[in-house]
Symmetry: C2
Subunit: 239 residues, 2 copies
Protein backbone atom coordinates (compact mmCIF):
# COMPACT_ATOMS: atom_id res chain seq x y z
CA UNK A 1 0.00 0.00 0.00
CA UNK A 2 1.39 3.37 -0.95
CA UNK A 3 1.45 6.41 1.27
CA UNK A 4 -1.60 7.76 -0.51
CA UNK A 5 -3.78 4.67 -0.07
CA UNK A 6 -5.80 6.34 2.70
CA UNK A 7 -6.77 9.30 0.52
CA UNK A 8 -10.53 9.77 0.12
CA UNK A 9 -10.67 13.32 -1.24
CA UNK A 10 -8.56 15.51 -3.52
CA UNK A 11 -8.81 19.27 -3.12
CA UNK A 12 -7.42 21.60 -5.75
CA UNK A 13 -5.87 24.97 -5.92
CA UNK A 14 -7.74 26.65 -8.78
CA UNK A 15 -6.11 29.83 -10.16
CA UNK A 16 -3.20 28.53 -12.20
CA UNK A 17 -3.64 24.88 -11.22
CA UNK A 18 -7.06 24.17 -12.76
CA UNK A 19 -7.66 27.27 -14.89
CA UNK A 20 -5.38 29.45 -17.01
CA UNK A 21 -6.30 32.84 -15.55
CA UNK A 22 -3.71 35.00 -17.33
CA UNK A 23 -4.30 34.05 -20.97
CA UNK A 24 -8.04 33.95 -20.44
CA UNK A 25 -8.35 37.34 -18.76
CA UNK A 26 -6.11 39.02 -21.34
CA UNK A 27 -8.09 37.52 -24.23
CA UNK A 28 -11.44 38.30 -22.59
CA UNK A 29 -10.61 41.91 -21.79
CA UNK A 30 -8.85 42.60 -25.11
CA UNK A 31 -11.90 41.42 -27.04
CA UNK A 32 -14.33 43.19 -24.72
CA UNK A 33 -12.27 46.43 -24.70
CA UNK A 34 -12.31 46.50 -28.49
CA UNK A 35 -16.08 46.07 -28.62
CA UNK A 36 -16.67 48.50 -25.77
CA UNK A 37 -14.21 51.07 -27.15
CA UNK A 38 -12.08 51.11 -24.00
CA UNK A 39 -8.40 51.58 -24.66
CA UNK A 40 -5.95 50.00 -22.22
CA UNK A 41 -2.94 47.76 -21.93
CA UNK A 42 -4.96 44.77 -20.78
CA UNK A 43 -1.92 42.54 -20.37
CA UNK A 44 -0.36 45.04 -18.00
CA UNK A 45 -3.67 45.37 -16.14
CA UNK A 46 -4.00 41.61 -15.67
CA UNK A 47 -0.39 41.21 -14.56
CA UNK A 48 -0.73 44.18 -12.24
CA UNK A 49 -3.94 42.79 -10.80
CA UNK A 50 -2.37 39.46 -9.95
CA UNK A 51 0.73 41.19 -8.60
CA UNK A 52 -1.28 42.80 -5.79
CA UNK A 53 -3.28 39.63 -4.99
CA UNK A 54 -1.12 38.41 -2.12
CA UNK A 55 -0.92 41.87 -0.56
CA UNK A 56 -4.71 42.26 -0.70
CA UNK A 57 -5.16 39.03 1.27
CA UNK A 58 -2.47 40.09 3.72
CA UNK A 59 -4.55 43.16 4.52
CA UNK A 60 -7.43 40.85 5.51
CA UNK A 61 -5.08 38.82 7.71
CA UNK A 62 -3.69 41.94 9.37
CA UNK A 63 -7.09 43.41 10.15
CA UNK A 64 -9.35 40.70 11.57
CA UNK A 65 -11.35 43.46 13.29
CA UNK A 66 -12.66 44.52 9.86
CA UNK A 67 -14.08 41.07 9.25
CA UNK A 68 -13.36 38.68 6.41
CA UNK A 69 -13.49 40.15 2.90
CA UNK A 70 -14.27 37.83 -0.01
CA UNK A 71 -12.03 37.68 -3.06
CA UNK A 72 -14.59 39.26 -5.40
CA UNK A 73 -14.43 42.37 -3.25
CA UNK A 74 -10.63 42.35 -3.02
CA UNK A 75 -10.47 41.98 -6.79
CA UNK A 76 -12.83 44.93 -7.21
CA UNK A 77 -10.85 47.16 -4.84
CA UNK A 78 -7.56 46.29 -6.54
CA UNK A 79 -9.11 46.90 -9.95
CA UNK A 80 -10.28 50.36 -8.97
CA UNK A 81 -6.77 51.23 -7.82
CA UNK A 82 -5.25 49.93 -11.04
CA UNK A 83 -7.75 51.74 -13.24
CA UNK A 84 -6.74 55.00 -11.56
CA UNK A 85 -3.04 54.15 -11.69
CA UNK A 86 -3.18 53.19 -15.38
CA UNK A 87 -5.51 56.12 -16.19
CA UNK A 88 -8.03 53.86 -17.94
CA UNK A 89 -10.93 56.10 -18.91
CA UNK A 90 -14.63 55.52 -19.55
CA UNK A 91 -15.37 52.57 -17.27
CA UNK A 92 -18.81 52.63 -15.67
CA UNK A 93 -20.19 50.46 -12.85
CA UNK A 94 -21.30 47.69 -15.22
CA UNK A 95 -17.86 47.66 -16.83
CA UNK A 96 -16.10 47.30 -13.48
CA UNK A 97 -18.47 44.45 -12.65
CA UNK A 98 -17.76 42.78 -15.99
CA UNK A 99 -14.01 42.98 -15.44
CA UNK A 100 -14.20 41.76 -11.83
CA UNK A 101 -16.31 38.77 -12.80
CA UNK A 102 -13.74 37.92 -15.46
CA UNK A 103 -12.31 35.73 -12.70
CA UNK A 104 -15.57 33.72 -12.81
CA UNK A 105 -15.22 33.09 -16.56
CA UNK A 106 -11.85 31.35 -16.71
CA UNK A 107 -11.25 28.27 -18.82
CA UNK A 108 -9.44 25.13 -17.71
CA UNK A 109 -6.10 23.81 -18.92
CA UNK A 110 -6.74 21.09 -21.54
CA UNK A 111 -6.14 18.20 -19.12
CA UNK A 112 -8.12 19.64 -16.20
CA UNK A 113 -11.64 18.41 -16.98
CA UNK A 114 -10.63 14.96 -18.33
CA UNK A 115 -8.39 14.42 -15.30
CA UNK A 116 -11.05 15.60 -12.82
CA UNK A 117 -13.65 13.34 -14.40
CA UNK A 118 -11.36 10.35 -13.91
CA UNK A 119 -10.51 11.28 -10.33
CA UNK A 120 -14.19 11.85 -9.50
CA UNK A 121 -14.99 8.20 -10.20
CA UNK A 122 -13.00 7.12 -7.15
CA UNK A 123 -12.54 10.19 -4.94
CA UNK A 124 -14.37 13.23 -3.64
CA UNK A 125 -13.05 16.22 -5.60
CA UNK A 126 -13.43 19.90 -4.83
CA UNK A 127 -11.60 23.17 -5.16
CA UNK A 128 -9.81 24.53 -2.11
CA UNK A 129 -9.27 28.01 -3.38
CA UNK A 130 -9.04 31.57 -2.18
CA UNK A 131 -11.84 32.34 -4.62
CA UNK A 132 -15.18 32.89 -2.89
CA UNK A 133 -17.99 30.35 -3.12
CA UNK A 134 -19.98 32.20 -5.79
CA UNK A 135 -16.86 32.79 -7.91
CA UNK A 136 -15.93 29.10 -7.79
CA UNK A 137 -19.51 27.98 -8.41
CA UNK A 138 -19.93 30.26 -11.41
CA UNK A 139 -16.53 29.20 -12.76
CA UNK A 140 -17.41 25.53 -12.43
CA UNK A 141 -20.59 26.04 -14.46
CA UNK A 142 -18.72 28.11 -17.05
CA UNK A 143 -15.80 25.72 -17.38
CA UNK A 144 -17.58 22.41 -16.81
CA UNK A 145 -15.55 21.54 -13.72
CA UNK A 146 -17.24 18.46 -12.22
CA UNK A 147 -16.68 19.23 -8.53
CA UNK A 148 -18.47 17.22 -5.87
CA UNK A 149 -18.56 20.24 -3.60
CA UNK A 150 -17.14 23.74 -3.40
CA UNK A 151 -14.56 24.32 -0.67
CA UNK A 152 -13.44 27.91 -0.41
CA UNK A 153 -11.38 30.10 1.90
CA UNK A 154 -14.64 31.99 2.42
CA UNK A 155 -16.09 29.07 4.39
CA UNK A 156 -13.26 29.33 6.90
CA UNK A 157 -12.85 33.11 6.78
CA UNK A 158 -9.14 32.58 6.26
CA UNK A 159 -7.08 32.73 3.10
CA UNK A 160 -4.57 30.07 2.14
CA UNK A 161 -1.95 29.32 3.28
CA UNK A 162 -3.54 29.86 6.72
CA UNK A 163 -3.91 26.45 8.45
CA UNK A 164 -7.65 26.99 8.98
CA UNK A 165 -8.26 26.42 5.27
CA UNK A 166 -6.59 23.01 4.93
CA UNK A 167 -7.79 21.76 8.30
CA UNK A 168 -11.26 23.22 7.68
CA UNK A 169 -11.56 21.26 4.44
CA UNK A 170 -10.69 18.01 6.23
CA UNK A 171 -13.13 18.83 9.03
CA UNK A 172 -16.06 19.52 6.69
CA UNK A 173 -15.34 16.26 4.88
CA UNK A 174 -15.16 14.40 8.24
CA UNK A 175 -11.73 13.15 7.17
CA UNK A 176 -8.32 13.10 8.80
CA UNK A 177 -5.74 15.38 7.15
CA UNK A 178 -3.89 12.38 5.70
CA UNK A 179 -7.09 11.30 3.95
CA UNK A 180 -7.08 14.56 1.96
CA UNK A 181 -4.68 15.32 -0.88
CA UNK A 182 -3.94 18.91 -1.85
CA UNK A 183 -3.25 19.37 -5.57
CA UNK A 184 -1.47 22.52 -6.69
CA UNK A 185 0.91 24.00 -9.23
CA UNK A 186 2.44 26.07 -6.41
CA UNK A 187 5.03 24.57 -4.10
CA UNK A 188 4.25 26.97 -1.24
CA UNK A 189 0.60 25.83 -1.15
CA UNK A 190 1.70 22.19 -0.88
CA UNK A 191 4.26 23.03 1.76
CA UNK A 192 1.56 24.52 3.99
CA UNK A 193 -0.74 21.55 3.39
CA UNK A 194 1.97 18.96 4.01
CA UNK A 195 2.97 20.59 7.28
CA UNK A 196 -0.58 19.95 8.54
CA UNK A 197 -0.59 16.31 7.50
CA UNK A 198 -2.35 16.47 4.13
CA UNK A 199 -1.07 14.45 1.20
CA UNK A 200 0.26 16.47 -1.72
CA UNK A 201 0.33 16.36 -5.51
CA UNK A 202 2.22 18.78 -7.77
CA UNK A 203 1.68 19.58 -11.42
CA UNK A 204 3.80 22.20 -13.16
CA UNK A 205 1.96 24.94 -15.06
CA UNK A 206 5.02 26.68 -16.49
CA UNK A 207 3.06 29.17 -18.61
CA UNK A 208 0.76 30.36 -15.81
CA UNK A 209 2.46 33.74 -15.44
CA UNK A 210 3.58 33.97 -19.08
CA UNK A 211 6.93 35.72 -19.46
CA UNK A 212 6.72 36.79 -15.81
CA UNK A 213 6.90 33.26 -14.41
CA UNK A 214 9.73 32.98 -11.90
CA UNK A 215 8.83 29.99 -9.73
CA UNK A 216 7.14 26.61 -9.77
CA UNK A 217 8.66 25.28 -12.96
CA UNK A 218 9.20 22.10 -11.01
CA UNK A 219 8.54 20.41 -7.68
CA UNK A 220 10.79 21.74 -4.96
CA UNK A 221 9.43 19.64 -2.08
CA UNK A 222 9.00 16.00 -1.23
CA UNK A 223 5.45 15.70 -2.55
CA UNK A 224 3.55 12.42 -2.58
CA UNK A 225 2.82 12.75 -6.28
CA UNK A 226 4.54 14.76 -8.99
CA UNK A 227 2.77 14.44 -12.33
CA UNK A 228 2.81 16.08 -15.73
CA UNK A 229 -0.88 17.00 -15.52
CA UNK A 230 -4.20 15.90 -14.01
CA UNK A 231 -4.27 12.75 -16.12
CA UNK A 232 -0.92 11.87 -14.61
CA UNK A 233 -2.41 12.27 -11.12
CA UNK A 234 -5.34 10.05 -12.13
CA UNK A 235 -2.88 7.43 -13.37
CA UNK A 236 -0.99 7.46 -10.10
CA UNK A 237 -4.17 7.43 -8.00
CA UNK A 238 -5.48 4.33 -9.75
CA UNK A 239 -8.31 5.93 -11.73
Amino acid sequence: MSAVSAVKALVFDVFGTVVDWRSNLIADFTKWGGQRGINADWTALVDGWRAVYAASMDEVRKHPERGYVILDRLHRQSLENLVAQFSIKGLNEADLHYLTTGWHRLNPWPDSVPGLRRLKTKYIIGPLSNGNVALLTNMAKHAGLPWDLILSAELFEHYKPDPETYLGAARLLCLQPEQVMMVAAHNHDLKAAQKLGLKTAFVARPTEYGPLQKYDFEATGDWDIVAKDFNGIADKMGC
Copy 2:
Protein backbone atom coordinates in the same frame (compact mmCIF):
# COMPACT_ATOMS: atom_id res chain seq x y z
CA MET B 1 -42.00 38.15 -16.66
CA SER B 2 -43.14 35.86 -13.89
CA ALA B 3 -42.33 36.33 -10.23
CA VAL B 4 -39.60 33.74 -10.53
CA SER B 5 -37.78 35.30 -13.48
CA ALA B 6 -35.03 36.67 -11.23
CA VAL B 7 -34.18 33.23 -9.83
CA LYS B 8 -30.57 32.17 -10.41
CA ALA B 9 -30.26 29.29 -7.96
CA LEU B 10 -32.51 26.53 -6.62
CA VAL B 11 -31.70 25.05 -3.22
CA PHE B 12 -33.29 21.83 -2.07
CA ASP B 13 -34.40 20.27 1.13
CA VAL B 14 -32.99 16.75 0.91
CA PHE B 15 -34.47 14.23 3.39
CA GLY B 16 -37.89 13.46 1.98
CA THR B 17 -37.70 15.99 -0.84
CA VAL B 18 -34.80 14.55 -2.88
CA VAL B 19 -34.30 11.14 -1.26
CA ASP B 20 -36.67 8.55 0.18
CA TRP B 21 -35.04 8.09 3.58
CA ARG B 22 -37.64 5.83 5.21
CA SER B 23 -37.96 3.06 2.64
CA ASN B 24 -34.25 3.08 1.99
CA LEU B 25 -33.17 2.88 5.61
CA ILE B 26 -35.67 0.11 6.40
CA ALA B 27 -34.56 -1.93 3.39
CA ASP B 28 -30.86 -1.32 4.09
CA PHE B 29 -31.03 -2.23 7.77
CA THR B 30 -33.34 -5.22 7.27
CA LYS B 31 -30.94 -6.72 4.74
CA TRP B 32 -27.89 -5.86 6.80
CA GLY B 33 -29.46 -7.11 10.04
CA GLY B 34 -30.23 -10.45 8.42
CA GLN B 35 -26.65 -10.84 7.19
CA ARG B 36 -25.16 -9.61 10.44
CA GLY B 37 -27.50 -11.69 12.59
CA ILE B 38 -28.90 -8.72 14.48
CA ASN B 39 -32.55 -9.06 15.36
CA ALA B 40 -34.60 -5.87 15.61
CA ASP B 41 -37.76 -4.15 14.42
CA TRP B 42 -35.92 -1.99 11.91
CA THR B 43 -39.06 -0.18 10.80
CA ALA B 44 -39.74 0.91 14.37
CA LEU B 45 -36.11 1.93 14.77
CA VAL B 46 -36.17 4.09 11.63
CA ASP B 47 -39.48 5.69 12.55
CA GLY B 48 -38.28 6.25 16.11
CA TRP B 49 -35.04 7.76 14.84
CA ARG B 50 -36.80 10.30 12.65
CA ALA B 51 -39.30 11.03 15.43
CA VAL B 52 -36.53 12.45 17.65
CA TYR B 53 -34.83 14.40 14.84
CA ALA B 54 -36.47 17.77 15.51
CA ALA B 55 -35.89 17.49 19.25
CA SER B 56 -32.20 16.69 18.73
CA MET B 57 -31.77 19.90 16.69
CA ASP B 58 -33.71 21.86 19.28
CA GLU B 59 -31.11 20.82 21.86
CA VAL B 60 -28.41 22.41 19.69
CA ARG B 61 -30.50 25.61 19.41
CA LYS B 62 -31.08 25.74 23.15
CA HIS B 63 -27.42 25.26 24.05
CA PRO B 64 -25.29 27.51 21.86
CA GLU B 65 -22.64 27.43 24.58
CA ARG B 66 -21.98 23.79 23.70
CA GLY B 67 -21.16 24.72 20.11
CA TYR B 68 -22.78 23.48 16.94
CA VAL B 69 -23.21 19.72 16.63
CA ILE B 70 -23.38 18.18 13.13
CA LEU B 71 -26.22 15.90 12.13
CA ASP B 72 -24.03 12.78 11.92
CA ARG B 73 -23.32 13.19 15.61
CA LEU B 74 -26.96 13.88 16.51
CA HIS B 75 -27.96 10.80 14.54
CA ARG B 76 -25.40 8.73 16.39
CA GLN B 77 -26.50 9.99 19.83
CA SER B 78 -30.17 9.33 19.02
CA LEU B 79 -29.32 5.88 17.69
CA GLU B 80 -27.53 4.92 20.89
CA ASN B 81 -30.56 5.97 22.91
CA LEU B 82 -32.90 3.98 20.67
CA VAL B 83 -30.71 0.87 20.73
CA ALA B 84 -30.91 0.92 24.50
CA GLN B 85 -34.62 1.68 24.52
CA PHE B 86 -35.41 -1.11 22.02
CA SER B 87 -32.94 -3.49 23.72
CA ILE B 88 -31.16 -4.26 20.44
CA LYS B 89 -28.27 -6.55 21.32
CA GLY B 90 -24.91 -7.30 19.75
CA LEU B 91 -24.08 -3.99 18.03
CA ASN B 92 -20.40 -3.07 18.06
CA GLU B 93 -18.75 0.23 17.13
CA ALA B 94 -18.52 -0.64 13.43
CA ASP B 95 -22.21 -1.59 13.42
CA LEU B 96 -23.25 1.72 14.98
CA HIS B 97 -21.13 3.50 12.36
CA TYR B 98 -22.75 1.48 9.59
CA LEU B 99 -26.24 2.35 10.80
CA THR B 100 -25.46 6.04 11.31
CA THR B 101 -24.00 6.35 7.83
CA GLY B 102 -27.16 4.80 6.45
CA TRP B 103 -28.24 8.42 6.08
CA HIS B 104 -25.35 8.86 3.59
CA ARG B 105 -26.57 5.94 1.43
CA LEU B 106 -30.09 7.08 0.59
CA ASN B 107 -31.51 6.79 -2.91
CA PRO B 108 -33.44 9.48 -4.76
CA TRP B 109 -37.08 9.48 -5.73
CA PRO B 110 -37.38 8.43 -9.41
CA ASP B 111 -37.82 11.99 -10.72
CA SER B 112 -35.09 13.58 -8.59
CA VAL B 113 -32.00 13.04 -10.74
CA PRO B 114 -33.71 13.64 -14.12
CA GLY B 115 -35.30 16.83 -12.77
CA LEU B 116 -32.06 18.07 -11.20
CA ARG B 117 -30.17 17.44 -14.43
CA ARG B 118 -32.66 19.59 -16.33
CA LEU B 119 -32.60 22.37 -13.75
CA LYS B 120 -28.80 22.36 -13.66
CA THR B 121 -28.62 23.38 -17.32
CA LYS B 122 -30.06 26.80 -16.47
CA TYR B 123 -29.64 27.31 -12.72
CA ILE B 124 -27.20 26.76 -9.90
CA ILE B 125 -28.50 23.81 -7.88
CA GLY B 126 -27.51 22.68 -4.41
CA PRO B 127 -28.93 21.04 -1.33
CA LEU B 128 -29.84 23.29 1.59
CA SER B 129 -30.20 20.59 4.18
CA ASN B 130 -29.70 19.96 7.86
CA GLY B 131 -27.41 17.13 6.82
CA ASN B 132 -23.74 17.94 7.36
CA VAL B 133 -21.39 18.58 4.45
CA ALA B 134 -19.79 15.12 4.46
CA LEU B 135 -23.18 13.40 4.69
CA LEU B 136 -24.54 15.39 1.73
CA THR B 137 -21.35 14.92 -0.30
CA ASN B 138 -21.29 11.17 0.27
CA MET B 139 -25.00 10.94 -0.51
CA ALA B 140 -24.55 12.86 -3.76
CA LYS B 141 -21.85 10.45 -4.90
CA HIS B 142 -23.93 7.44 -3.85
CA ALA B 143 -27.14 8.67 -5.46
CA GLY B 144 -25.70 10.53 -8.45
CA LEU B 145 -27.13 13.88 -7.40
CA PRO B 146 -25.56 16.44 -9.77
CA TRP B 147 -25.22 19.35 -7.34
CA ASP B 148 -23.18 22.40 -8.30
CA LEU B 149 -22.23 22.93 -4.66
CA ILE B 150 -23.11 21.60 -1.23
CA LEU B 151 -24.95 24.02 1.04
CA SER B 152 -25.53 22.69 4.52
CA ALA B 153 -26.77 23.91 7.88
CA GLU B 154 -23.25 23.05 9.07
CA LEU B 155 -21.79 25.97 7.11
CA PHE B 156 -23.98 28.38 9.05
CA GLU B 157 -23.91 26.52 12.36
CA HIS B 158 -27.66 26.79 12.47
CA TYR B 159 -30.32 24.25 11.63
CA LYS B 160 -33.29 25.01 9.41
CA PRO B 161 -35.68 26.69 9.84
CA ASP B 162 -33.34 29.23 11.49
CA PRO B 163 -33.06 32.30 9.21
CA GLU B 164 -29.25 32.03 9.13
CA THR B 165 -29.53 29.00 6.84
CA TYR B 166 -31.66 30.54 4.07
CA LEU B 167 -29.92 33.92 4.25
CA GLY B 168 -26.53 32.25 4.50
CA ALA B 169 -27.17 30.32 1.29
CA ALA B 170 -28.04 33.54 -0.56
CA ARG B 171 -24.98 35.27 0.89
CA LEU B 172 -22.55 32.53 -0.17
CA LEU B 173 -24.04 32.60 -3.67
CA CYS B 174 -23.75 36.43 -3.75
CA LEU B 175 -27.45 36.55 -4.59
CA GLN B 176 -30.42 38.42 -3.19
CA PRO B 177 -32.98 36.22 -1.37
CA GLU B 178 -35.47 36.63 -4.24
CA GLN B 179 -32.88 35.21 -6.63
CA VAL B 180 -32.89 31.93 -4.69
CA MET B 181 -35.72 29.40 -4.78
CA MET B 182 -36.19 26.94 -1.93
CA VAL B 183 -37.58 23.58 -3.04
CA ALA B 184 -39.14 21.33 -0.42
CA ALA B 185 -41.81 18.72 0.24
CA HIS B 186 -42.43 20.38 3.60
CA ASN B 187 -44.62 23.44 3.91
CA HIS B 188 -42.93 24.66 7.09
CA ASP B 189 -39.55 24.84 5.37
CA LEU B 190 -41.00 26.93 2.54
CA LYS B 191 -42.83 29.16 5.02
CA ALA B 192 -39.54 30.05 6.73
CA ALA B 193 -37.82 30.65 3.38
CA GLN B 194 -40.65 32.77 1.99
CA LYS B 195 -40.72 34.96 5.07
CA LEU B 196 -37.10 35.91 4.32
CA GLY B 197 -37.77 36.74 0.69
CA LEU B 198 -36.77 33.51 -1.05
CA LYS B 199 -38.90 32.10 -3.83
CA THR B 200 -40.55 28.76 -3.10
CA ALA B 201 -41.43 25.52 -4.86
CA PHE B 202 -43.42 22.64 -3.36
CA VAL B 203 -43.58 19.02 -4.40
CA ALA B 204 -45.66 16.52 -2.47
CA ARG B 205 -43.92 13.34 -1.31
CA PRO B 206 -46.98 11.65 0.22
CA THR B 207 -45.21 8.37 1.02
CA GLU B 208 -42.23 9.94 2.81
CA TYR B 209 -43.39 8.87 6.26
CA GLY B 210 -45.20 5.75 5.08
CA PRO B 211 -48.32 5.03 7.15
CA LEU B 212 -47.19 7.64 9.67
CA GLN B 213 -47.50 10.57 7.26
CA LYS B 214 -49.76 13.25 8.73
CA TYR B 215 -48.79 16.45 6.91
CA ASP B 216 -47.60 17.80 3.60
CA PHE B 217 -49.94 15.85 1.35
CA GLU B 218 -50.44 19.13 -0.44
CA ALA B 219 -49.31 22.73 -0.58
CA THR B 220 -50.76 24.78 2.27
CA GLY B 221 -49.09 28.10 1.45
CA ASP B 222 -48.95 30.52 -1.43
CA TRP B 223 -45.84 29.05 -3.03
CA ASP B 224 -44.43 30.36 -6.30
CA ILE B 225 -44.46 26.88 -7.82
CA VAL B 226 -46.45 23.80 -6.92
CA ALA B 227 -45.47 20.81 -9.05
CA LYS B 228 -46.03 17.09 -9.13
CA ASP B 229 -42.31 16.36 -9.04
CA PHE B 230 -38.89 17.77 -10.03
CA ASN B 231 -39.68 17.43 -13.73
CA GLY B 232 -42.71 19.59 -13.11
CA ILE B 233 -40.49 22.23 -11.51
CA ALA B 234 -38.15 22.04 -14.51
CA ASP B 235 -41.12 22.52 -16.83
CA LYS B 236 -42.26 25.60 -14.93
CA MET B 237 -38.74 27.03 -14.71
CA GLY B 238 -38.26 26.82 -18.46
CA CYS B 239 -35.70 24.00 -18.56
